[in-house]
């Protein structure tokens, strides 16, 4: 954790924010020192006031980190553009929705299903859209954010595959509103689980595609998740007093150990800008390179599959 925090300080946030964040971590660590009982269930929930205090203290840092996590739709788009075949069997079956019987599992699997929905929409498979929207709506209602999913509108749009752009826009903006609402309501821990689930499912889909055909784009995309995972672990660890989060963090740490062997090198060059038809276009002359061996990729894929299986079932 210490190493991760140090890296984060160096790379991602200003000194002032770092102090703020370290205070949060220190405070939460002190709170965590009491530990849990040996028989503590992974599903046990913290008293609302404990969660609220964590969310209050870390408000700005939490918001910043949550917002920095890329949308799973980006991953789905890369998969499609790189020629990946659509495969619904790799998605989480919507029949599983009844298995998620506490708010943490529900939030996590809203994230899982949201990434699946993004994948479905990118491939314009609107026939499958409704069962996923329905699963998300069911789980969202259970954690009292179902009002952000306009089921009727989405159902209308899903009736025609030509509406996939609108479906994508409305579903994405709905998730955006839901996330903002949860954080405003001091329920940021559920937002954290939603984005963690969405991120893991995106990586899972990419991994499944890479098992069949590891195109350069997909490999690059999997490799760059090193950056996202580091940010994600920071926010998951903010709540590691909650057994469910501690379990998620422990699983993600397995991936992090593998990603620590992956390096990203940068070459900086001054950017340029130009105006094209009244719009400002940036010409980026810097480059980055992901250094990841086939063996490292294979391990990451295997571990992703194992973690996703553990957390979804």
């Amino acid at each position: 954790m210490k190493t991760t925090v140090n890296k984060y300080i160096n790379k991602h946030i200003s000194f002032k924010k770092s102090i703020n964040f370290l205070s949060v971590v220190a405070l939460l660590s002190m709170i965590s020192c009491g530990g849990g009982t040996e028989n503590e269930s992974l599903d046990a929930e913290l008293p609302a006031d404990s969660i609220a205090s964590a969310a209050n203290v870390s408000g700005d840092v939490l918001n910043d980190l949550i917002q920095s996590i890329p949308s799973p739709v980006e991953m789905a788009t890369v998969i499609k553009v790189s020629g990946g075949e659509y495969n619904e069997r790799i998605l989480n079956n919507t029949d599983n929705v009844d298995k998620y019987n506490n708010s943490y599992k529900q939030a996590f699997n809203i994230g899982i299903y949201s990434a699946d929905l993004g994948y479905i929409n990118i491939y314009e498979k609107t026939m499958s859209t409704m069962s996923y929207v329905s699963a998300i709506k069911t789980l969202a209602d259970q954690i009292k954010v179902g009002q952000f999913f306009d089921f009727a509108t989405l159902k209308n749009l899903a009736s025609n595959s030509k509406n996939s752009d609108s479906l994508l826009y409305i579903s994405m903006s709905s998730f955006n509103k839901m996330d903002s609402y949860l954080r405003e309501q001091k329920r940021g821990e559920l937002s954290v689980l939603i984005i963690t689930g969405a991120w893991l499912e995106g990586l899972h889909i990419a991994s499944e595609v890479a098992k069949v055909k590891a195109s350069d784009d997909i490999v690059e995309k999997i490799g760059e998740q090193k950056i996202v995972l580091n940010n994600l672990l920071l926010i998951v660890n903010l709540y590691n007093k909650i057994p469910y989060f501690a379990n998620v963090a422990a699983e993600l740490e397995k991936l992090k150990a593998l990603y620590d062997q992956v390096t990203i090198t940068y070459e900086y060059a001054e950017p340029e800008t130009k105006e094209v038809n009244g719009q400002l276009v940036i010409v980026d002359n810097s480059t980055s390179k992901i250094n990841m061996t086939e063996a490292q990729l294979k391990k990451i894929i295997e571990t992703t599959t194992a973690i996703r299986t553990q957390l979804v079932h």
Binding site: P70, V81, N156, S173, K177, N277, G278, V281, I290
Partner: protein, 160 residues
């Protein structure tokens, strides 16, 4: 890629794709009025209107700014991917001398570009950024002047 798209702007305006997006956005504006009571720039209708500037970029996130108080954070970060094109839409209430300015910084906080050109005093409504180095990027917003400050910043992406 962008140059080609912009040359085809008028074709795009009358394209089926835009009609489809406008239909979806209108429906969203009609049905999605969940946040009533907020200022105009925080409304769904304002967001939907501004989102049209995304054109064929996929909506990723939006950030509302409404009268930010002194000391409040005016920056967010996002992980951009090499090989993807990003569009940042700058949308405000269009009050003269009170425009929103967006600045994009790289992972080392070096300025990449700003929506306001200090030399020409020109404001650009969008920034198009073809990313060639994966990493955390910072997007900072400021307002000119001291009138009421209200605006939305929308992030979209595209991959070809």
């Amino acid at each position: 890629m962008i140059i080609k798209k912009n040359n085809n702007f008028f074709r795009y305006v009358f394209s089926k794709k835009l009609k489809k997006q406008l239909l979806g956005i209108s429906i969203a504006a009609f049905f999605g009025s969940l946040n009533t009571g907020f200022a105009q720039c925080s409304s769904d209708a304002f967001l939907d209107n501004c989102s049209s500037a995304l054109e064929d970029f996929t909506f990723v996130k939006s950030f509302n700014y409404e009268n930010p108080k002194g000391g409040k954070k005016n920056e967010y970060s996002y992980v951009f991917s090499k090989g993807s094109m990003y569009r940042i839409v700058v949308c405000d209430e269009n009050i003269a001398d009170n425009k929103m300015i967006i600045s994009l910084f790289d992972r080392n906080h070096k300025l990449i570009a700003s929506s306001f050109d200090k030399k020409t005093k020109k404001h650009y409504p969008t920034l198009n950024y073809p990313c060639s180095a994966t990493g955390v990027y910072y997007i900072e917003y400021t307002f000119q002047g001291d009138k009421a400050k209200c605006g939305i910043n929308i992030l979209g992406f595209n991959k070809n």
